[in-house]
């Protein structure tokens, strides 16, 4: 059997990126963490094909690519349900799929969620920068091949097949979300009314929602005119409130410091769900204490620890 798979893209899709576990430890130089937004679905895809869980995979947003496999291979699809099909036949998510030479993978409507992941068994022959294959927005010269365009090709050194695996995982099907969050470090500096307002409202995700951050529609009450904060750290999941009162949830490619009030932080256990929000979805927030968040974190890792212990 030929040992190298060449994936040829006919169409790139809306935003198709090579992603992995991201790069850690460069935040202090202004380099965002990057990596797959939904780390559970992404790692699960790699687990389903027997790859190291933090190996590169494709992240596909809303509109998937069209791609052809030139040799037999094993793949897995996870995350958002983007109506994947092989040679026109619908295929299931969250299980190992055996593909044949010449098979064509394509996608259709969004059934639920925003970001889907495609893992392929084998060693991805991609470039790395600062230990990650994740592109850096604004710097096209870094890892240009990790941003898939029409006519892109990716090469993967294949490994012997594994026994197919499946994982019982219910994909997102709703467009209404309730995320859990703890009050942010500046929630004591702003009027209690604004914090209470944040936790009692339902927001719509605006069209300005991407890997850098999600802008929510609407303005928080009781913020008034205030000085900006002295720039300080922000992390993925931090909810900042712009001086206009509009909340913004920071994401993995976002800035590492910000000068706006940090009203809340989405809890670690809900970050994978956050990645599945798309423009137009509704979202509300449940207030947790740090102790409750830590408890949820333990529950989360109890379930998903096998994907995170490298």
């Amino acid at each position: 059997m030929p040992d190298i798979l060449t994936m040829k893209f006919r169409k790139a899709g809306l935003q198709t990126l090579v992603q992995d576990g991201g790069r850690s430890g460069y935040q202090q130089q202004g380099v965002p963490e990057g990596g797959a937004m939904d780390q559970v679905s992404y790692r699960l895809a790699n687990w389903l094909v027997g790859n190291p869980v933090d190996h590169p995979a494709l992240e596909m947003t809303l509109l998937g690519p069209e791609v052809r496999f030139d040799v037999d291979c094993q793949i897995a699809l996870t995350g958002a349900d983007l109506s994947a099909s092989i040679n026109g036949q619908p295929v299931s998510l969250n299980q190992t799929l055996n593909c044949m030479q010449g098979d064509e993978l394509s996608f259709g409507h969004v059934h639920g969620g925003c970001r889907a992941y495609l893992a392929i068994r084998g060693d991805w022959m991609v470039d790395y920068w600062l230990q990650s294959a994740s592109a850096l927005p604004g710097f096209d010269e870094i890892l240009p091949d990790s941003q898939i365009s029409d006519e892109s090709a990716l090469q993967i050194r294949l490994k012997h097949d594994i026994e197919p695996r499946a994982f019982d995982f219910i994909p997102v099907s709703s467009d209404s979300f309730r995320l859990r969050a703890v009050p942010g470090p500046d929630s004591g500096c702003i009027l209690q009314e604004a914090v209470d307002d944040f936790f009692s409202r339902t927001f719509r995700v605006s069209t300005a929602a991407n890997r850098m951050g999600y802008r929510l529609e609407g303005k928080l009450k009781g913020l008034g005119k205030r000085d900006e904060l002295i720039s300080s750290g922000v992390i993925p999941g931090t909810v900042q409130v712009a001086s206009s009162g509009q909340p913004v949830i920071m994401q993995v490619d976002g800035q590492t410091t910000g000068g706006y009030y940090r009203v809340a932080n989405i809890i670690t256990a809900d970050l994978p769900v956050l990645a599945q929000l798309k423009p137009g979805d509704n979202v509300s927030f449940q207030r947790l204490s740090i102790e409750e968040a830590e408890c949820e974190k333990r529950t989360f890792y109890h379930k998903w620890g096998f994907l995170f212990e490298v």
Binding site: S24, Y26, Q28, G30, W129, V182, I230, S232, I235, T238
Partner: protein
């Protein structure tokens, strides 16, 4: 007064007195360097800002209470670190002429200074790198002479050229790449301050002490060529 608190469920925020001041930021950087020197397994990043430090930790390895306790324990023993030096000394050439200084007219209008006074005031002090952030490798430098204080642009530029030196309020900084930005452009540096292909992509680190010196547009091109031909030329900035 230093406080250590939870920041979400997988980070800790250390707050110093909330003020932009050289001595406070110096202490921030001293503490950040000290904490990094401990090389604690599972502390993923230690990011200093003006008057705060964010520590991100691996939630599989650490819980919140233990991280806060550990930071407080280090703080109790940290008396000796407030004497440590924080960075390198750097000399950075800047061309303040013509199209490199896109906002010179605006800066002159806002400050009432002549072009040579603007250049003299910008090159006179040594600046401290308070932090890097906003964009990869973007150095926040201060403190600018009060006479150079300018407002940010009401309508930010959609594309500030890479390597532009800019001022706003009492801060000055350098754009690592072409990006939108609201600061007033005072000049340009003749080489990349962030180059992903260099072994160390980042020219600046928090705590470095930076002095600018003016160069003509002819010299600008000369330096630019020299660095392009031989990457090690850039080491000359660390005087």
């Amino acid at each position: 007064m230093i406080t250590v608190d939870a920041f979400g469920d997988r980070a800790v925020l250390i707050n110093f007195e909330q003020k932009i001041a050289l001595d406070i930021n110096r202490n921030v950087i001293q503490l950040a360097h000290y904490l990094r020197s401990k090389r604690i397994q599972g502390w993923k990043f230690i990011s200093p800002a003006y008057c705060s430090i964010t520590i991100g930790f691996d939630p599989l390895v650490w819980n919140m209470g233990d991280v806060i306790e550990r930071v407080n324990r280090y703080l109790d023993k940290a008396a000796h670190i407030w004497q440590s030096s924080i960075g390198r000394s750097m000399q950075i050439p800047v061309c303040y002429e013509g199209s490199y200084a896109l906002d010179m007219a605006e800066i002159r209008k806002q400050t009432g200074l002549s072009e040579s006074e603007v250049v003299d005031l910008h090159t006179a002090p040594g600046y401290q790198v308070f932090m890097t952030g906003f964009l990869p490798g973007f150095p926040y430098l201060g403190i600018l002479n009060e006479k150079l204080r300018c407002e940010r642009k009401a309508d930010p530029r959609l594309r500030v050229p890479a390597q532009s030196v800019a001022i706003a309020g009492l801060q000055t900084g350098i754009y690592p790449n072409a990006s939108p930005g609201g600061w007033q452009i005072i000049g340009r540096v003749p080489f990349k301050i962030f180059d992903p292909l260099r072994e160390d992509p980042f020219l600046f680190r928090e705590g470095d002490m930076v002095r600018f010196y003016p160069v003509s547009s002819t010299k600008f091109v000369e330096i630019s060529k020299a660095v392009a031909e031989d990457h090690s030329e850039i080491q000359k900035v660390y005087a």
